[in-house]
């Protein structure tokens, strides 16, 4: 799961992840998406850029 | 807020101010130092979670406790000044 807040500054970034993922998968430039989503600082930007979602891999196991 | 007087002389006072941190103590000592009758104003937080100890020494007939009180008054005044300037809802 994407962290709720940015580790460094504490801004809530998890709300932006769904849209980021959708638009990134259509091949849009991540820079443009992040600017659109209002993530100005590089600490918040790296949260989305470097996130690897593994919840779907873990979910079948209890 | 509770304070404990550790030492009180004519020109020197040492107070323990309970429940304070750097946030208030730093601005307080700087404000005390603006007083021309003050010689030394310093605070010390011995360990991370201990209460700060304020040391004030003055020159001449200035009472060290009055000096602290006056500095508090000035801080309060500038806060009020700023609060008045924040636009109302």
């Amino acid at each position: 799961m994407i962290p709720v807040r940015c580790f460094t500054c504490g801004k809530v970034i998890s709300t932006a992840y769904e849209e980021f993922k959708r638009r990134r998968d259509t091949g849009e430039d991540p820079k443009r998406i992040l600017d659109d989503l209002g993530l100005e600082r590089y600490c918040c930007r790296r949260m989305l850029l470097t996130h690897k979602e593994i919840i779907d891999d873990l979910n079948p196991y209890q | 807020m509770n304070i404990k007087i550790l030492e009180l002389g004519k020109n020197k006072a040492r107070l323990e101010i309970q429940g304070e941190g750097h946030t208030f103590m730093n601005v307080l000592t700087e404000e005390i130092l603006k007083d021309p009758g003050v010689d030394v104003a310093r605070y010390l937080i011995k360990f991370q979670f201990s209460d700060p100890e304020l040391l004030v020494t003055t020159r001449g007939n200035r009472d060290p406790l009055d000096v602290v009180k006056d500095a508090c008054g000035r801080l309060e005044k500038s806060c009020n000044e700023l609060l008045d300037q924040i636009p109302a809802d």
Binding site: G10, S14, L58 | M1, T23, F24, N26, V27, D66, G73
Partner: protein, 279 residues
């Protein structure tokens, strides 16, 4: 002291603090981050959790959700008359009960008090597949940022000194500093380097322009000098949604004021006593 806002909305405030001191500016910054009371979820009772996240991970994520607080509708737990057990005047109960498949979000947290709820409805908590279930009860309390970062009302909160850029007679308008400036605040005007109108506040005081100037072989002294004004500060206060930015500033100032009043009152009491003894 004076304050002049350039941006002021619910999320973010930018302002200039004039005729102040470094100590006061820093104290205000610290007060806004660490001393403004807000709400966050502190205790979580988990009745059922068959999701892929551990209980503690789930509780941690729920704790980080900013809770919108109406000013002074609750009091801190340690000053409450219930003695810290948790009653409706010092805490708010949330319940969450979701069955998969689907995403558990912050809007699934149902508040007991209609005035209080998550600042944003779409914060994902955990993703569930069919058959998984999360049932829990969470209690939010009022506390301060110095206790835990989840009670901080601010995200980016800081200040910088007001920049003072002076160009002296040694400047030969070579333009090296204009190219070097990362914030693009300089231009060549009337055969001399000058700051572009209205861009001075973007200066980050990095002084790359001074270095670029010295590298041109101008001599020991640069033609452009960047200094900071020690009595003026540019503040940025960005809220996380739990409080409007204006309230954060107001309560930060209020903290300094209450502390000064408290200390003055205490000293007045003590010095009154000692004087009585002397008489």
């Amino acid at each position: 002291m004076e304050i002049a806002f350039s941006v002021l909305d619910d999320q973010i405030a930018r302002f200039r603090l004039d005729k102040s001191s470094i100590a006061f500016a820093n104290s205000l910054r610290r007060a806004m981050i660490g001393e403004v009371p807000t709400m966050a979820i502190e205790d979580v009772k988990i009745y059922d959790n068959t999701s892929a996240l551990f209980d503690e991970m789930l509780a941690h994520r729920i704790g980080l959700i900013p809770i919108k607080t109406e000013e002074e509708c609750l009091i801190p737990r340690d000053t409450c008359s219930c003695g810290g057990i948790g009653c409706p005047s010092c805490s708010v109960l949330f319940t969450l009960s979701v069955e998969g498949p689907g995403m558990v979000t912050s809007k699934d947290l149902i508040s007991q008090d209609p005035r209080i709820g998550p600042a944003s409805p779409d914060i994902p908590v955990v993703k569930l597949i069919g058959g998984q279930k999360v049932v829990l009860e969470a209690r939010a309390i009022v506390s301060r940022g110095r206790e835990h970062a989840k009670w901080q009302p601010t995200t980016a909160c800081g200040y910088k000194n007001y920049p003072v850029v002076t160009v002296n007679d040694r400047c030969d308008a070579c333009g090296h500093c204009v190219e070097e400036c990362p914030r693009e605040i300089l231009e060549i005007r009337d055969g001399r380097v000058a700051v572009i109108e209205g861009r001075l506040e973007s200066c980050s005081l990095c002084r790359l322009c001074e270095r670029a100037c010295l590298n041109t072989g101008i001599g020991e002294e640069a033609g452009i000098i960047v200094r900071s004004d020690e009595s003026r500060f540019l503040f940025v206060v960005e809220g996380d949604g739990s409080l409007p930015a204006k309230n954060i500033i107001r309560q930060g100032l209020d903290y300094i004021r209450t502390q000064s009043q408290g200390l003055a009152a205490q000293i007045y009491e003590i010095s009154g006593e000692t004087r009585d003894e002397n008489d």
